[in-house]
């Protein structure tokens, strides 16, 4: 099912046999994922299947119960604080809600990583911040506070912040969820543009099929903690698995059932009229 490529792809992030449990619940069960350098890879699946958990594992916020998580050749769970610190500076992350610091202005939010991790002089920081804001089209909004931004604008500022330190990789956690079509279009365009112009590697976690398929170079479909299928969007669209077809076309019922397990309908109704 995986595509044949002529040359061996340069894999930036590698997950092998990753297992993660929360209490008794198995969230990830022996997952294998390759994120290729310079490409946009999407991880898709129904809500609650642990997509965000994958991002957290890559970022070292969580440690797997079993398996390998490797970023740029480094074994993430084994890194000490300094190593993790250094690695995180090379990763940018955009959270679902933007996660801008509410007490700082747009400018200050984007400048934050620069101020914390570099000793650059103030005028250089100013230039860098303006450049990043220009890339997402919000240079004019630099004095606004996060509470004054629309959802779409807040996410774009979050993107600018994520690229502030010129990372090698950006992770997007549900970037399209709940946005109007125009904003979705803008964000899609930005993700593609940033990825190509800045030579980034992008990892998107989403369940918005249409939007994501349009810009992905490669897709992973996960369900119940396992990878159900993966490939580039065309290949997946022709997949033989009925589950994949259901997901991709957004059907309400199919292999992933509509009804939550329940006793027989007629019996359930009649049970209420016991006399």
């Amino acid at each position: 099912m995986s595509e044949e490529i002529l040359e061996t792809p340069d894999v930036l992030v590698r997950l092998r046999g990753v297992t993660f449990k929360r209490g008794d619940r198995m969230i990830l069960d022996g997952m294998d994922i390759d994120i290729v350098r310079g490409k946009i890879t999407t991880i898709m699946g129904p809500s609650g299947t642990g997509k965000t958990t994958v991002l957290r594992l890559i970022g070292g916020q969580l440690n797997p119960d079993a398996g390998l998580v490797e970023v740029d050749g480094q074994n993430v769970p084994k890194l000490d604080r300094r190593g993790l610190f250094a690695l995180r500076k090379r990763m940018g992350m955009m959270f679902q809600s933007g996660a801008l610091f509410s007490d700082l202005s747009v400018f200050e939010n984007v400048a934050f990583p620069l101020r914390e991790h570099t000793k650059l002089p103030e005028n250089m920081i100013r230039d860098l911040v303006l450049m990043k804001l220009e890339a997402v089209g919000l240079r004019g909004a630099r004095a606004l506070m996060p509470s004054e931004l629309s959802g779409g604008m807040a996410r774009r500022v979050a993107m600018a912040r994520a690229i502030a330190l010129d990372p090698m990789m950006i992770m997007y956690d549900e970037p399209f969820t709940g946005q109007d079509p125009i904003t979705v279009g803008v964000i899609m365009k930005l993700i593609r543009m940033l990825n190509d112009n800045l030579g980034l590697t992008s990892v998107i976690v989403s369940h918005d099929v249409q939007e994501v398929a349009a810009i992905s170079d490669y897709m992973y479909l996960i369900s119940d903690g396992k990878v159900v299928d993966h490939g580039d969007p065309d290949v997946l669209g022709r997949s033989a698995s009925p589950w994949v077809q259901q997901f991709l076309s957004g059907l309400a019922d199919g292999p992933a059932g509509f009804h939550f397990p329940a006793p027989d309908y007629a019996e359930d109704l009649l049970a209420g009229t016991a006399n």
Binding site: Q61, F95, S97, A99, E116
Partner: protein
């Protein structure tokens, strides 16, 4: 019967588990405090939102409590012909007890709950994980400055409360009820000891400051990242601080003044 015991045991275990988390949290905050030397600006901003913005409430409360003490104290003392001792009655009540305790309770209601809500909201909007992913330690940048601000502000606020209370008491006693000003102040000065009373009162307010701020910041940190979770956390801050302050007050009073 057994079920009842089991439930009590479960609740006790939950309590200790939470207390343990809170203690570990406090240790981490304290460990990071030395790094705050470089974050001067941040601390100043926090002292502003915690201390300065509470000043109005504390000042007015202190003044009115002092005035009430003046009135009530006079009513009681006049029966013994001891109304000239009003000054020392007002001063001792404020400096030893009411200043530190009432300031701590008001602080918890105003500044403490605001801290909890702010931090809880940061948790809901994922600002804390975002900070971690940017390789910035939220303990250094968020929790420790707020903790320091509370510990610094509380003794200052308590002193203001007591001072204004005494002034309020003197306004009523000397101004309104006709007690001799000289007697009011000189009796007070004779009876209020700098070590036993003033210093102990300051120590109390520092202890309360640590406890109240610790609870406020921890509850925000520990809140579930939902609106309901934040709302419950702010309630917990006020309630737990009240219990803790009143309980500690008893212990400290027994230690400090019990011997007398």
């Amino acid at each position: 019967m057994l079920e009842w015991l089991r439930r009590i045991g479960a609740r006790a275990l939950l309590f200790f588990e939470r207390l343990g988390r809170a203690l570990l949290f406090l240790l981490r905050v304290v460990a990071v405090l030395p790094q705050l030397v470089g974050e001067f600006r941040l601390c100043i901003t926090q002292i502003y939102s915690v201390g300065v913005l509470s000043m109005q409430l504390i000042a007015i409360s202190g003044l009115t409590v002092g005035m009430v003490l003046g009135l009530q104290g006079y009513n009681t003392l006049v029966d013994f012909g001891a109304e000239q001792s009003l000054g020392q009655a007002v001063a001792l009540s404020l400096v030893r007890e009411l200043g530190p305790v009432l300031t701590a309770l008001l602080f918890a209601g105003r500044a403490g709950s605001a801290l909890t809500a702010e931090i809880g909201l940061m948790r809901v909007t994922e600002q804390l994980p975002a900070m971690e992913m940017m390789a910035v330690d939220p303990f250094r940048r968020v929790f420790a400055p707020r903790f320091l601000a509370g510990v610094v502000s509380m003794p200052l606020l308590a002193a203001m409360f007591s001072a204004l209370g005494i002034i309020g008491g003197s306004m009523i006693g000397v101004g309104l009820l006709g007690i001799d000003s000289g007697a009011f102040w000189s009796q007070m000065q004779a009876k209020v000891d700098i070590y036993d009373d003033i210093l102990n009162g300051v120590i109390k307010s520092v202890v309360f400051g640590v406890v109240a701020t610790w609870i406020a910041v921890f509850e925000g940190f520990d809140a579930s990242p939902t609106t309901e979770g934040v709302s419950r956390a702010t309630t917990r801050t006020v309630v737990h601080t009240a219990f803790a302050v009143l309980g500690l007050d008893f212990v400290l009073t027994a230690l400090m003044f019990g011997g007398l």
